[in-house]
């Protein structure tokens, strides 16, 4: 019995080896063929992480650029909204509670069925349904209901005026005729999606790659890049090596590895600015980090410029709040210079006097606290160590500790954490979740339990009006308050680096969020790339 089963396997193995040798020989015979391994009209990029699902109902592509799907609106290169499945930007009622979208006609899903208002209603209602396991549905918290008026108009009604609502409608629209017949959480639609987008999924080998093929009937015109593959390669070094060997046409890389491609004439490096911040939470409920003098001293004692130069190798900017300094929403004049003497003065004036071991003491309390960072995250570890060393010079003792989120999370109310995040699109997105006092300890929102009534009011004002000047004034207030009482020490905004073969035109980068590589990156608009002449 065994002898019989072993024989064919041995045969297969021999055949496999023979084939492998033949292939190997073939591969050896044309090393470094120009244009890489993909066909002339194909692009293969290496990214660091993959989505959990490809269903927009479960949160895929909620910030746009989902390739397979289109939103009602989309972001352009400057992160301005432009119409996509809607023919124009929405009409907003005077009270800011009703958004009306006119839909594009004659658009078909990739299975040939027409796109209508019913699909829009289905998508939003399913996301809001409590049985749908969509972890991002909080982002649609303002939405009360959506209904179709005829086949080509949808009307959204909100619970409260929410200025950045239109920015939320970039999320992909799922076809009702496919997705409604399945279990929303585990049906085949989550892995074999059907959409209206410029690309159609041809395969998803989890942990390995996601393959797309151009949708020839795309309403925006068939893309020139006919085959698009995203290889999921978690290890930075492996990704760099595979880019160098020609297996990839482009990849996201950390600054030290991207530097290695500087001299390569066939590749171009793209530096995308981002909202991706690193900060230290200063929990209100800790007697040292809750002290305003300590917070202000840390805010000026920290040397952000050196962090950018040394840790990020220049690929980034000092951060003074969630809004990056080059954003139109940034409040000029709120930059804090590195000033150790000023930090010491602030502490002296507040009664924090140096103790025998150099650590300051006030009323018997030592100016010391722990700072956690997620183990394995080299970037955050470097930030944490630099922060602790800067703080020590001012007489504040910080003990850095590594741990998994399971260890860190229960301690977040009292212990400082080196956290990160950032979503462009609207100034409300980050600031509301980070600073609103009622969100203290709500999941990972407002991790420091920051509590400032002036900020609370300004945050509400900022999201409830559509008037840009009024919004700007509100967010200026928030940023100025952060100078007076910095509940977080913002350290850096990190640029994301991509190295791509220089064989296509039309590449650009958007301002990117914390998560990047999949939707963000130079391939955010790969459907518009054209071959280089």
């Amino acid at each position: 019995m065994t002898a019989r089963t072993v024989r064919p396997i041995r045969g297969t193995a021999a055949a496999a080896l023979a084939t492998a040798l033949a292939l190997t020989a073939a591969a050896c015979s044309n090393p470094g063929s120009p244009g890489g391994p993909a066909a002339e009209d194909g692009v293969v990029v290496g990214i660091a992480y993959e989505p959990d699902s490809l269903s927009p109902l479960l949160g895929y592509g909620k910030d746009g650029n989902s390739k397979i799907f289109d939103g009602l609106l989309a972001f352009d290169a400057d992160m301005e909204l432009k119409p996509a499945l809607a023919v124009a930007l929405p009409e907003v009622s005077a009270d800011g509670l009703t958004y009306t979208y006119e839909l594009r006609q004659g658009v078909n899903f990739s299975d040939g069925k027409p796109f209508t208002a019913a699909d829009v209603v289905f998508t939003y209602r399913t996301i809001l349904d409590e049985k749908t396991n969509n972890p991002s549905k909080t982002e649609l918290d303002a939405l009360k209901d959506v209904k179709a008026v005829g086949d080509h108009t949808v009307v959204f009604t909100l619970k409260y005026p929410y200025a950045p609502f239109a920015e939320r409608t970039v999320l992909g629209i799922a076809p009702q005729h496919v997705a409604a017949k399945q279990d929303v959480n585990s049906g085949p639609f989550t892995t074999r999606p059907v959409g209206t987008g410029p690309y159609v999924l041809t395969g998803w080998s989890k942990g390995e790659k996601i393959s797309f093929r151009a949708n020839p009937d795309y309403w925006g015109g068939a893309p020139e890049v006919k085959k698009f593959t995203m290889a999921i390669i978690k290890d930075d070094d492996v990704r760099a090596t595979r880019l160098r060997s020609g297996d990839l046409d482009g990849a996201v890389l950390p600054p030290n590895l991207a530097k290695g491609f500087k001299g390569d004439k066939t590749k171009k490096t793209y530096e995308a600015t981002s909202y991706d911040y690193r900060l230290v939470t200063l929990p209100t409920h800790h007697e040292v980090t809750g002290d305003t003098a300590i917070r202000r001293a840390l805010d000026v004692a920290v040397d952000r410029r050196t962090m950018v130069d040394k840790i990020l190798e220049g690929a980034g900017k000092p951060a003074y709040g969630p809004v990056p300094t080059d954003s139109e929403w940034f409040t000029k004049g709120t930059e804090r210079a590195h000033d150790l003497d000023r930090a010491k003065r602030i502490l002296d004036d507040a009664g924090w006097k140096p103790g025998p071991d150099g650590v300051r003491v006030k009323d018997g309390v030592r100016a010391a606290f722990p700072l956690w960072y997620p183990s394995g995250d080299k970037l955050r570890q470097d930030h944490a160590l630099a922060y602790a060393s800067d703080a020590k010079k001012a007489g504040i003792a910080i003990t850095t500790q590594a741990g998994t989120w399971e260890v860190i999370e229960p301690r977040m109310k009292h212990d400082a954490v080196l956290a990160g995040g950032g979503s462009p699109g609207d100034p409300d997105f980050d600031q509301y979740l980070l600073l609103k006092s009622t969100l203290g300890g709500d999941g990972f929102n407002n991790m420091a339990w920051y509590d400032n009534p002036v900020v609370d009011k300004a945050l509400e004002d900022g999201r409830r009006t559509d008037d840009k000047a009024a919004r700007k004034a509100a967010y200026d207030t928030v940023q100025r308050e952060l100078v007076k009482n910095p509940g977080y020490t913002f350290l850096t905004h990190i640029d994301h680096l991509y190295v791509v073969n220089d064989s296509w035109e039309g590449l650009s980068t958007q301002v990117e969020p914390h998560d990047h590589g999949l939707a963000a990156g130079p391939w955010w608009n790969i459907e518009n790339w054209v071959p280089k002449k």
């Binding site: 193995a13 292939l23 190997t24 972890p135 080998s205 399971e406 260890v407 979503s423 999941g443 990972f444």
Partner: protein, 335 residues
Amino acid sequence: MTAKQAGRRLPWGAMARMTGRRALAAVPVLLLVTFAVFAVAAASPFDPVKAYAGTAGLTASQENLDQLRANLGVDRPLVPRWWDWLTSALTGDLGDSSVMRQPVADVIGERIGWSVLLAATAFTVAVLLGTALGVLAARRRGGWLDRCVSSAAYTLEAAPAFWLGLLAIWFFALELGVLPAGGLTDTASETVTFGQVASHLVLPALVLGVSQLPWFFLYVRQGVADALDEDPVRGARARGLSERTVLLGHALRSGMLPMLTLIGSRVPELITGALLVESVFSWPGIAAATVQAATSVDFPLLAALTVLATAAVLLGNLLSDLLYGLADPRVGFDG
């Protein structure tokens, strides 16, 4: 010898009886194992809701997270959760995997073939190569081949499979550039072709096979060497049989016995080895899914995969006992 008759007419009845007894004994084992999986997963510090939500969980409201917890059914106590899983699993419904967003049956169905291919190839490599090298080494004990292979075997036995894997990637894929570093097919390829799979199979199968090889090699070497000193071999040589017949017909035959036991007991090692090798080579198999299921506390997937691994181990043991009974009728099929 009686083995000759056994080769003609297999004792089917005795073998079937043993298989039946083992199947009955497997039931409580499987029950215990599934319960243990649920208990360990429930006690683990990982939070299934956090794992499900991923980075979106960082900005999700507590209300959203609580709703997810209820939907995923992970807020319920351990025992009813296990009981529900068990009863529906018996009716054929293995539940939905939260981490893969797919029914568990689909996850396993898509992957098991690739895992079996990898494990079977590796096992074949290990058994055939181990036996061949073992016989050659035993023939001239202390010779250069024996000394080289034996010291290599001890080194390999001490080397973890993932380390071997990384080493192999570095050497064959990065330094020489002759074999792909991972995956099932080339990155740019959309279809799974035989040639593609074969070239991608070489490194992982070799690494997994080589990591199992020392055991087979050392057992065969010892067994054959011992047998060469025994009376039957001396008798065979005295009768003037060729060295080849003596070595393969007599010495190998009795030297193989301990190796048959080994085949069964190496199955668990093969599975854990595959776990590491699949992860290192991004091989889309069961083992890679197990790692994900474990770190995201995906109860249904984890339980189904553990049952599968347990069954593989039990089957391996049964197989080696059956083979042993066939090779040495004195042992019989009493289990």
